[in-house]
Amino acid sequence: MAEQITMQVTRYRPEVETDASFQEYEVPCPKDWVILDGLNYVKDQLDGTLSYRWSCRMGVCGSCGMMVNGEPKLTCATFLADYAPGPVKVEPLRNFPVIRDLVVEIGDFMRKLVAVKPWIIRKDEKPVSQGEYLQTPDELDEYKQYSMCINCMLCYSACPIYGLDPQFIGPAAIALAQRYNLDSRDEGSPERLELLSQHEGIWGCTFVGECTEVCPKHVDPAGAIQRYKLTAAMDWAKSFVMPKGKADA
């Protein structure tokens, strides 16, 4: 008989209560189970009222982010047995409003992703008849790391600046902007800079660095932000030396 482990799971039912509480569940703890397996066991066998998000169960969709013992984790990529003998606390992702149980409101995040214009911007679009935009492997390497983001929002949970000021645009959004800024096919850096050079853009970041620590895909958003600060500062400095329009984007 497999060992058991106690999961302390946040419950929040807005129709009957005004605050969150913990409910304990005893779940089996086989070596290969992840936290998500434990939650699915709860939902299937113990308490069907538990609400939570998940999808691919293999670390590529970004749906199952939750706080596990106070750390933001993908529950499909975190082994239950690592927390034996337990108990293990499972809470909704920090810094986001909680809709119900482990489900958080992600509208703010989604709006920010769109706000940084995450698409190739060009002054003149090449017609399809002229063929594809060509890119060398080196040019791909420039931005590839930042394209690996799965929008799981663990970085937003780890970022104290976002927690203190929800208007801060946040690590994933800035990393996404960099993914396009550094793409050789893109010419949209000045447009993105317009948004990101505001106080809630890159300048709000104080390089705590936790976003990079918790990222499951090694995107290194902290590095992306610091690089962007340097680029933006250099652009600003250049704008005094060179007339507007001549300065490199």
Binding site: E105, T206, E213, D220
Partner: protein, 137 residues
Amino acid sequence: MNNEPIYTAYHPRWLRPPMSTYWWLGKWPYVKFILRELSSIFVAWFVIHLLLLFRAVRGGEAAYQRFLDFSAHPVVLTVNVVAFFFIVFHALTWFAVAPQAIVAHMGKKRVPPLLIAASHYGAWAVVSAILSWLLLR
């Protein structure tokens, strides 16, 4: 029968737990971050210390001696011991993140992060050696 259903919008009340003023005590990386930021206070203190030294040196041998005594005073000494640890902590954390923040290219190839780090530590060693030589010869 006039039993028209009455529809009301149902929007569940979202729970927004407030962030504690002591959020930075929550986990060690946050504590380390705040300590790193507070090191700037000791940087500012040492600026004052340097300027006081300059003023004493300019003021004459007696003033310089008084400054040396001042530096040896237990309170000042304690402050400087603490300042030393914080300033070294600042330097170490600064050089540790330099490769993350600085991405340089030589032609098409990216400069390896290890080289960026090594350049910083190397420069640190050279500058420290020069300063020591200037003061100790």
